[in-house]
C-alpha cells in the first residue's frame, strides 16, 4: 500500500476513518460540504494532526511528521489557486520553488527546458510566459499552473483538494480537462477530493463517498473498500 490511514479521528469530524490506497491507483473521494473532506486532506498533507490513528506512506509512519517534510512525498494542489501559487513571483520562480521541495537545481538550462516541457502539456502557452508574474494570470490559469507545480520533481502521492471549487463552470471544465491530461501522463498514485459528483464519471479507479466523517462505497470492480 502506498497510503494507509488507520482509525483516524480528528475532533468530531473524522470518525475512525480507515483508507488504503495502492501504488498507481486513482482514488476519488466525493462528499457534501461539511462531510470532513478538507479535514481528511489536511490530515494527509500534514496541515493538522489527528487526535487518534496513524498515517503511513510506503509503510513509513508519518503521523507526527511536519507538513514541509511530507512534501517530499506528498504533492498537493489546494482549493484556491491564490493559495497554491505566489502572485508576486514569476511563473518560473513558482515552478522553481515547487521543484526545490525535494530536488536540487544543478543545471539551469536543463531545468528551464524541463519546466517548458511540463507547461506545454496543459496547452495554455504558459511555457512562453515563464518570466511573467503569476498575478497576471486568470484563476483557471493559476490553478492549471498549481497542477503543473505539483507534478514537477519527484513525489509519491498527488493530493487534489477540490481543485475546481473556487472556479466558475467553464474554467472548472478546462481545469478538469488539464487534470485528466496530467494524471494520464504522470501515472502516479492520486487521491482527489471533490464535492462535484460529475467528476465521478471522469476520474478514478475507485470512488468513495464521504459522509459524517466516514468513508463508504465500492470500487468500480464492486470490491468492498
Amino acid at each position: 500500500m502506498l497510503l494507509q490511514l488507520n482509525d483516524i479521528c480528528v475532533k468530531n469530524i473524522l470518525k475512525n476513518l480507515t483508507l488504503n490506497v495502492k501504488k498507481g491507483e486513482f482514488v476519488l473521494i466525493v462528499g457534501a460540504n461539511g462531510a470532513g473532506k478538507t479535514t481528511l486532506f489536511n490530515t494527509i498533507s500534514g496541515a493538522s494532526s489527528p487526535n487518534n490513528g496513524s498515517v503511513f506512506i510506503n509503510g513509513r509512519d508519518i503521523t507526527l511528521l511536519d507538513r514541509h517534510k511530507r512534501s517530499a512525498q506528498i504533492s498537493s494542489v489546494l482549493q484556491d489557486p491564490r493559495a497554491g501559487t505566489i502572485a508576486e513571483m514569476t511563473i518560473f520562480e513558482n515552478l522553481k520553488l515547487a521543484y526545490l521541495r525535494n530536488r536540487c537545481i544543478k543545471k539551469y538550462r536543463k531545468i528551464v527546458e524541463y519546466f517548458k516541457e511540463k507547461l506545454s502539456l496543459i496547452g495554455l502557452n504558459l511555457e512562453n510566459r515563464m518570466n511573467e508574474y503569476v498575478r497576471n494570470l486568470s484563476g483557471g490559469q493559476r490553478q492549471a499552473l498549481s497542477l503543473v507545480m505539483a507534478t514537477v520533481g519527484d513525489y509519491e502521492l498527488l493530493l487534489l483538494d477540490e481543485i475546481t471549487a473556487a472556479l466558475d463552470t467553464r474554467t472548472s471544465d478546462m481545469v478538469m480537462e488539464i487534470t485528466s491530461k496530467i494524471v494520464a501522463n504522470e501515472k502516479k498514485t492520486c487521491l482527489a477530493i471533490t464535492h462535484d459528483q460529475s467528476h465521478m464519471n471522469l476520474f478514478g479507479d475507485r470512488t468513495l463517498k464521504m459522509e459524517n466523517g466516514q468513508l463508504s462505497g465500492f470500487d468500480k470492480r464492486s470490491e468492498p473498500c
Binding site: 498533507s45 496541515a47 511536519d66 507538513r67 514541509h68 517534510k69 512534501s71 517530499a72 504533492s75 498537493s76 489546494l78 493559495a83 497554491g84 501559487t85 505566489i86 502572485a87 508576486e88 513571483m89 520562480e93 522553481k96 520553488l97 515547487a98 526545490l100 521541495r101 525535494n102 537545481i105
Partner: protein, 292 residues
C-alpha cells in the same frame, strides 16, 4: 520653485548622507521583516540600542572596533532569535513578541552599559583615521550586495516565499518556522549593526536612543518604495537605501525651515506626516507597506 534653505551648508548635507547610509542598514533590516517575511517586528527599537550598547562597551574597554561591531551583529541576531522563538515555539503573535523583547532589551541594555549612557570620543572607532563617508559607503555597499545575492539565491527565494504565502511555502517543503527565525535574526543583526555604527559615528551611546527607530526605518522604506520603484523584488533593497538618504535630507531641510515656523521639536510630527503622505499617495509606486 523649491530652493534649499540658505543656512543649510554642504557639510550638513554630507552628514545627512552619512546618517542616511547608516540608517539605510536599519531600513533594510526593517524591510526584511515587514515585507520579505511579512512579520510585524517591533524588536528593532531594542536591538538598535543593543548593537550600540555592545559595541560601545567593547570599544570603551579598548577592544578592536571591528570585533565590537561584529559582536553587535551577533547580539542583534540573538535578539531576533528570541523574538522568533516566542512566535514560533510559544505561538505569541508577531507584534506582541517584538514589543516584549524590545521591552526586555531596555533592561538588558542598561545591564550591558552599566549606565544610561556611554561617551567614547577619544577611543578608536571603525571610522577613526578614515573618511567617514567613504567608510559608510563601503560598508553599506558590501552589506547590501551580500544581502541582494542572498535574496536572489534559492535560500532567498524560500525566504521571500514565506512572506508571500506561508501555506504555499509549507507545501513546497519550506520549513516556515525555521525560515521565520532566520529572517528575524538576519533583520535584527542588521538593525544592531546600524545601531553600532550610529553610536560609533557620534561617539556616544544612550539607552533611549532607539526610540523611534522603527518609524524612521519605515519612513525610509516607504519613501524609497515610492520614489524608486524597482520591479525585481531583491532590488527593492536599493530603494530602502535611497529612501533613507532622502529622509535624512528632507529632515535636515525641515530643520532649517524656521522661516515657515518649523522647529526642532516638530521632528516627529514632520516624520509622521511625511509617512502618511507617502502612504496615501499610492499612484506610481509599490506601496507594499501601505497595503499590508
Amino acid at each position: 520653485m523649491f530652493t534649499l534653505p540658505k543656512d543649510l551648508e554642504m557639510q550638513e548635507i554630507i552628514m545627512s548622507i552619512e546618517l542616511g547610509l547608516i540608517f539605510s542598514i536599519v531600513a533594510v533590516g526593517i524591510y526584511l521583516t515587514f515585507k520579505t517575511i511579512n512579520f510585524a517586528d517591533m524588536t528593532c527599537d531594542g536591538s538598535f540600542v543593543l548593537g550600540a550598547a555592545v559595541s560601545s562597551v567593547y570599544i570603551k574597554m579598548g577592544a578592536s572596533p571591528f570585533i565590537a561591531t561584529f559582536l553587535a551583529l551577533v547580539f542583534g541576531g540573538l535578539a531576533g532569535l528570541a523574538t522568533g522563538i516566542l512566535n514560533v515555539k510559544f505561538k505569541i503573535k508577531d507584534l506582541m513578541c517584538g514589543i516584549i523583547v524590545a521591552f526586555i532589551l531596555y533592561s538588558i541594555n542598561l545591564r550591558i552599559m552599566n549606565a544610561p549612557n556611554i561617551t567614547f570620543i577619544e577611543e578608536v572607532t571603525i571610522f577613526s583615521g578614515r573618511n567617514t563617508l567613504t567608510s559608510v559607503i563601503i560598508i553599506v555597499f558590501v552589506l547590501n550586495l551580500a544581502l541582494i545575492l542572498i535574496l536572489f539565491s534559492v535560500f532567498g527565494l524560500r525566504l521571500r516565499a514565506i512572506g508571500y504565502n506561508k501555506q504555499f511555502a509549507a507545501i513546497s517543503g519550506i520549513n516556515v518556522k525555521l525560515m521565520t527565525i532566520i529572517g528575524l535574526m538576519l533583520s535584527n543583526a542588521m538593525i544592531a549593526l546600524g545601531g553600532s555604527l550610529f553610536s560609533q559615528y557620534q561617539g556616544f551611546c544612550d539607552v533611549s536612543q532607539g526610540f523611534g527607530t522603527l518609524v524612521i526605518g519605515l519612513a525610509s522604506v516607504v519613501i524609497g518604495e515610492k520614489m524608486f520603484a524597482f520591479k525585481k523584488e531583491p532590488l527593492i533593497i536599493l530603494s530602502c537605501i535611497f529612501g533613507s538618504i532622502l529622509y535624512r535630507i528632507f529632515m535636515n531641510i525641515a530643520l532649517h525651515s524656521d522661516s515657515i515656523g518649523i522647529k526642532t521639536q516638530d521632528l516627529n510630527l514632520i516624520t509622521g506626516l511625511m509617512i502618511i503622505a507617502v502612504m496615501i499617495v499610492k499612484k506610481g509606486g509599490n506601496n507594499a507597506l501601505a497595503t499590508q
